[in-house]
């Protein structure tokens, strides 16, 4: 007599089950590949350094900061103008985005290279100037805006445009029947991107542009933790109060005013610019038409195989890590769980995790766990997981539970998670592209990803090699994005443009 068994829970063809299977495949793939990752824990006495860091954060020395207001001013100005120029470049591109393969490819390419690497490129031509900073933000953002704006415009309801009398011109139709309908979402996304650009603007300090990150990185690197603490608090404060100083009515004024904080403006040597673009970026043998020399040149490129492998592996681990962290953390900031005090704490934790530059998180883990891929993994997972958790909590807060009386566990598993999971997974797939881009950044930490070799090439002033590796990175990013797009949940309407 056979026991009656429940049908296998993962069989079936409902959208929910498809998502569950997809997530499990992703996690399984990560676990199978984990042995190939370099994940040893070696540090044995991190506590002295960590306690110095903790005291620094707890007892910031505000007085020791040199001209923090100037750094903040420049950080905000660069973010504002970088975003604005990105909009100005990206919006026209968005209008032709779905009609031109060339535009789509170009946008995918500029998007695929991290802001910091753009900065390193522009640095060679424009030096430490406002142009380098603005271009490093505006160029990739133009690609991002073009794509997201195009998607938002495409999703605009057609009713209004369809009901227009025949013969209405393209422009009139756009400004009356399309733009107003998409306006709110375009504005929301632009706003979100501005917040991103604020973090990126700080990061630009890490390569030497005198934003807040310049001082933060110096202080942190040299172990002046009381100063680093003060700067970090300043940064959290800046991000946390964006709702007040970044008010819609205040922004135009701020934008105009900040124009005077931007600088310095470079003296551009056109000969040098031309030499860089026409000569420095390309392998010398290629320019000479020396094919054997080109082979030798390629032979001198650091091991591409392991670098690509490490990049992809870290990207996969970071994506799966972010998924798990997001699943664990989102209830902390949701109104359905805990009390006002825990929610405040949870929100602060999420904001802290997503605002702290990944490089810094990674260094703390480096001290704790020793040099390996582990610190980079944790930094990526925590940073991106917290970001996704924050958006998921916001999504969950809009849901009214059907059965109010359930205990917290039941509410999580039966009421809320099934409803927010498709959106959450879609976010994770969207972030995969960003995570791959960030692995390149963490290469600066010593993990031999593509980013590590790009950083080295820039340091050795071998721009042709750096450029070649950037092209490889961009190609990899585009491929990963295409893959993620293929497998991301299609059933979800991405009603929150900020999720991209």
């Amino acid at each position: 007599m056979a026991e009656p068994t429940a049908p296998g829970m993962l069989h079936g063809d409902s959208p929910g089950l498809r998502l569950a299977r997809r997530s499990l495949v992703l996690v399984a793939l990560c676990i199978v590949l984990l042995p190939f990752a370099d994940l040893s824990v070696v540090a044995h006495d991190p506590w002295a350094e960590l306690s110095r860091m903790a005291t620094g954060l707890a007892l910031p020395h505000w007085r020791e900061l040199s001209s923090p207001l100037q750094a903040i001013g420049l950080t905000v100005s660069v973010a504002l103008w970088g975003t604005l120029l990105g909009v100005l470049l990206g919006f026209p591109l968005a209008l032709v985005f779905f009609r031109s393969r060339l535009v789509r490819t170009a946008c995918a390419f500029v998007r695929a290279i991290h802001e910091l690497f753009w900065a390193l490129l522009f640095l060679q031509v424009f030096g430490f100037s406002a142009v380098t900073a603005l271009a490093a933000l505006a160029v990739p953002y133009a690609g991002i805006f073009a794509k997201v704006y195009a998607e938002i415009l495409e999703q605009t309801p057609r009713d209004a445009a369809d009901s227009l009398p025949p013969g209405v011109g393209r422009l009139s139709r756009f400004i009356y029947a399309e733009l107003p309908l998409a306006w709110e979402r375009l504005a929301a996304y632009t706003r979100y991107r501005f917040e991103c650009s604020l973090r990126a603007s700080v990061l630009l300090g890490f390569v030497g542009l005198p934003t807040l990150g310049f001082h933060l990185e110096s202080a942190f690197r040299e172990g002046h933790y009381h100063q680093a603490g003060a700067l970090l608090w300043l940064f959290y404060l800046l991000i946390g109060t964006i709702g007040f100083w970044g008010h819609r009515r205040l922004l135009p004024l701020l934008t105009l005013g900040s124009l005077f904080l931007l600088g310095p403006w470079p003296h551009v040597d056109s000969g040098l610019l031309w030499r860089f673009v026409s000569h420095d970026l390309w392998p010398a043998p290629l320019l000479d038409g020396d094919w054997a020399g080109l082979m030798a040149w390629l032979g001198n490129i650091p091991d591409l195989g392991p670098a690509i492998g490490n990049t992809l592996l870290l990207g996969l681990m970071g994506t799966v890590g972010a998924l798990i962290i997001a699943l664990l953390l989102w209830p902390l900031a949701s109104r359905h769980f805990g009390n006002p005090a825990t929610r405040l704490g949870g929100r602060a934790l999420l904001v802290g995790l997503r605002s702290t530059p990944e490089l810094m998180l990674a260094f703390i883990f480096l001290l704790l766990l020793g040099p390996s891929m582990l610190p980079a993994w944790l930094a990526l997972a925590l940073h991106n997981g917290a970001l996704i958790a924050f958006l998921a909590a916001r999504h969950a807060d809009n849901i009214e539970p059907g059965m109010p009386g359930l205990p917290a566990g039941g509410r999580y598993a039966y009421e809320l998670l099934p409803r927010i999971y498709p959106g959450l997974l879609a976010l994770v797939f969207y972030r995969a592209e960003v995570i791959i881009r960030e692995t390149a950044l963490l290469g600066m930490l010593g993990v031999a990803t593509l980013g590590f070799h790009i950083d080295s090439s820039f340091q050795y002033l071998m721009f042709d090699q750096a450029f070649f590796l950037l092209l490889v990175t961009a190609g990899l990013n585009i491929a990963v994005d295409a893959l993620a797009r293929r497998y991301r949940p299609r059933e979800v309407v991405m009603d929150d443009p900020c999720s991209r």
Binding site: A48, E217, H267
Partner: protein, 288 residues
């Protein structure tokens, strides 16, 4: 929208104005290997000294890394720079005609220290690089630092005849001497290579726990930091400007100024003094 167009036009209009100002000011940069706090304030004093002595406007341009300093030098954003050994060679190769003017008294015979965490059991102050380094984890400083990367790697290869990657279980780049000390002290890396002057300063200031980390070996002497000036400054600032700058640097005796580098004083030097650095750089594939 109108506001936006107006501001964009202003933005475009400002650029040329700023450009014309750029010509008359003599700019320099320096990357000290320790204590980059209040850089601008401290080097403002050096800028003031140079301005008084040379009778031109002088401005200090802060930079973050060796490669950034080289880029600024190449782009003529700075005309004078306090470079490390390797970055100086890089810069002079990129800007033909530029020359090394002066080095620190200490730089004629500079050293690197190999330091080890006490738990490794590697004894302190040995005559040559100990065999027992093999198999430990190791960190350099910045990738293009002369004292934190180039010369340590040279002596490692000379002693063991193999690349650091095959000698050690793991090779990292801490990015900075201070960080190298912190990472070896905490045991994150077993062994590291560090600028001797940064180490000495840190020990003196009590920032290092010498029970946990100690010096294992000191490299032979090699030339390091130097002031390098662009070849075209005489055209822009008048004949003999290069010599006047050299004299100004050599005449810098105020300890308050010298503390920023930190050096006891400056002595004359020529490009040729750095030929050994150039050779090593080429051998290691850091120069081409």
């Amino acid at each position: 929208m109108r506001r936006l167009i107006a501001t964009t036009l202003m933005l475009l209009g400002l650029a040329p104005v700023a450009q014309t100002q750029a010509q008359d000011t003599f700019r320099f940069t320096a990357i000290p290997d320790e204590d980059q706090t209040r850089l601008v304030e401290r080097f403002q004093k050096v800028a003031d000294y140079l301005a008084d002595t040379l009778d031109v406007d002088v401005e200090y341009v802060p930079v973050k890394s060796y490669s950034a300093a080289v880029s600024a030098f190449r782009n003529d954003q700075v005309q004078l720079a306090w470079f490390g050994g390797l970055s100086g060679v890089q810069a002079r190769r990129l800007v033909p005609g530029s020359q090394a003017l002066a080095q620190g008294v200490e730089d004629a015979a500079f050293h690197s220290y190999f330091i080890a965490n006490a738990d490794t059991g590697i004894a302190a102050d040995q005559d040559q690089l100990p065999e027992s380094l093999e198999g430990h984890s190791f960190t350099f400083g910045a990738k293009t630092s002369t004292s934190g990367r180039l010369m340590p790697e040279y002596y490692l290869r000379e002693r063991f005849g193999e690349a650091p990657e095959s000698l050690f279980s793991r090779v990292g780049f801490s990015g900075d001497h201070t960080r190298t000390i912190a990472l070896v002290e905490s045991g994150t890396y077993d062994v590291g290579a560090v600028n001797y002057s940064v180490w000495n300063a840190a020990v003196e200031a009590g920032r290092v726990d010498t029970d946990k980390v100690h010096v294992v070996w000191e490299t032979p002497a090699y030339p390091d930091y130097q002031w390098t000036i662009r070849g075209d400054v005489d055209e822009h600032f008048g004949d003999g400007f290069t010599d006047r700058v050299r004299q100004a640097l050599l005449g810098m005796t105020d300890p308050d100024l010298l503390e920023s580098f930190p050096r006891q004083g400056f002595i004359p030097v020529s490009n040729d003094a750095y030929a050994p650095i150039e050779t090593v750089g080429e051998d290691l594939g850091l120069l081409r």
